[in-house]
């Protein structure tokens, strides 16, 4: 479960006030809204990359508002994949375990498991500059899942891909989320993506975040 409780954020003239909503455990939530309305800021507050001016953030029953990003149990996939420029795919996918100083055989086993599941096994020795947009997003997903997070956060992960790839990757996201029982929060502008993926839909506007009930 992800819960935002009366979150506030101020940066110059831009303000978010009193943002409250809950993504139920194990559900795939899609958050939509106009460009610049604060969706990414909200995601970054959940990641711990920005500190809210007020309110609390919960993951499961745990209040994570004051925890550093790495202790929140999240997997984060940004829009452009944000690959680590000098690392191979193998190093990127194993990064979260390497930073936790897990034994090399455990890292290798997890990298193999994820790369097989995401169809990136043939890319393991490549560097980001030799990957296509779709491959980058698969690698970013593998990297985010390596430490077995409970929550997956996706910031327009499909927006830079062509339509065919987008559908393939959307299906992959849904499959991974179901198989691993993850709670997912996915930001997008695409109605089509929301229809493909969403168990729950939210809309963000100046007044706050509201759930969009499907007929």
């Amino acid at each position: 479960m992800i819960r935002f409780e009366t979150i506030a954020w101020h940066a110059g003239a831009f303000r978010l006030e009193n943002i409250s909503f809950t993504v139920p455990a194990g559900r795939y939530a899609v958050l939509m809204g106009r460009t610049g309305c604060g969706k990414t800021t909200l995601l970054e507050i959940l990641c711990g990359l920005r500190r809210p001016a007020g309110g609390r953030v919960f993951i499961g029953e745990r209040d994570v508002t004051d925890l550093p990003p790495g202790e929140r149990g999240i997997g984060y996939v940004p829009q452009d994949g944000a690959m680590f420029p000098t690392m191979t795919v193998r190093e990127q996918v194993g990064f979260a375990l390497a930073i936790r100083q897990r034994p090399p055989p455990e890292i290798a086993a997890r990298v193999k498991e994820l790369s097989d599941s995401l169809g990136i096994a043939h890319l393991l020795d490549r560097r980001p500059q030799h990957l296509s947009g779709g491959e980058r997003q698969r690698v970013a997903l593998g990297r985010a899942l390596a430490a077995k997070p409970s929550v997956l956060l996706l910031d327009e992960p499909l927006s830079a891909l062509d339509e065919e790839l987008r559908d393939d990757l959307a299906a992959l996201l849904k499959r991974v989320q179901r198989e691993q029982g993850l709670t997912a929060l996915h930001i997008t502008h695409s109605q089509h993506e929301a229809e493909q993926l969403a168990d729950v839909r939210f809309r963000m506007a100046a007044a706050g975040v509201t759930e969009v009930r499907q007929p």
């Binding site: 990641c47 711990g48 990359l49 550093p68 680590f84 420029p85 000098t86 990064f95 930073i99 390596a146």
Partner: protein, 262 residues
């Protein structure tokens, strides 16, 4: 992309002519200097004990200065590129002081600083005025400012997003910078050290004022050119100048080509 036809239009030809004229001027200057002397006289000048000492001291001090400059430039460049804090424009302006002040004035400021009670206290532990340490400090004062600019530019062009992702994966900010950002910034680090090295090689005014021009002690290559010129030994001055031109060209080439690979 422009077609070959567009590339030979009068517009591009005139721009090319301006660039060509400037290049011609530079090459003419260097060729005239190179032709002024003969290889024999060049070797004879470079074989002088004082000049060999000066070459050795220049290479040593420039390398130490480049490394020290990098140690300062990496954290300060990162701070300027990533952090927002009150008074940041003032800090940026202050860090440019060594670039905009006349080098001779920088030397004078150093000399005066080390005459104060604070300076004298430092001199008690490590003497700077008229010593080799003073040569390095004078080079560092100016070279580091150029290195900071280069590193800031490097970090400005590196997205902070991979660092953010690394933090969500379990890194502290310092670990994310160390493991993700610095490896990506190595080309910029190489360029920053090279710029500081090359700038230090040509430093004259501050060294003359702060470290003096004592032969076999604080004499570096620009000092040699000045000393040889002042006694009318133009051959030796030209030989040392050509050596400095060669060093500068090697650094340029290294930054241009090796830099692409780093």
């Amino acid at each position: 992309m422009s077609s070959p036809l567009q590339r030979v239009s009068p517009f591009w030809v005139s721009l090319g002519a301006v660039a060509g004229l400037y290049l011609f001027f530079l090459l003419a200057m260097l060729t005239a200097t190179a032709c002024y002397t003969t290889p024999g006289k060049l070797i004879e000048a470079l074989a002088k004990r004082e000049i060999q000492h000066s070459i050795g001291l220049s290479l040593l001090t420039c390398t130490v200065t480049a490394l020290l400059s990098l140690l300062l430039a990496v954290p300060v460049g990162y701070l300027l590129a990533r952090a927002r804090f009150p008074g940041k424009p003032w800090l940026e302006a202050a860090l440019d002081i060594p670039i905009v002040l006349p080098p001779m004035v920088m030397g004078l400021c150093l000399l005066i600083l080390f005459q104060t009670r604070f300076g004298q206290f430092i001199e008690h532990f490590m003497p700077f005025t008229y010593t080799v340490f003073g040569v390095v400090l004078a080079q560092f004062t100016i070279g580091a400012a150029f290195a900071v600019r280069t590193m800031r530019h490097t970090f400005d062009h590196l997205s902070s997003r991979p660092e953010d992702v690394a933090m969500t994966l379990g890194c502290t900010r310092a670990q994310a910078v160390w493991r993700v950002t610095l490896p990506a910034a190595r080309r910029g680090m190489f360029a920053a050290a090279s710029v500081a090295w090359a700038r230090s090689l040509g430093e004259f005014g501050p060294i003359l004022v702060f470290a003096g021009a004592t032969r076999m002690k604080t004499e570096v290559l620009p000092t040699t050119v000045w000393l040889e010129l002042s006694v009318g030994n133009l051959e030796a001055a030209v030989a040392v100048s050509l050596l400095m031109v060669l060093c500068a060209m090697l650094v340029l080439a290294a930054v241009k080509w090796l830099g692409e690979e780093v």
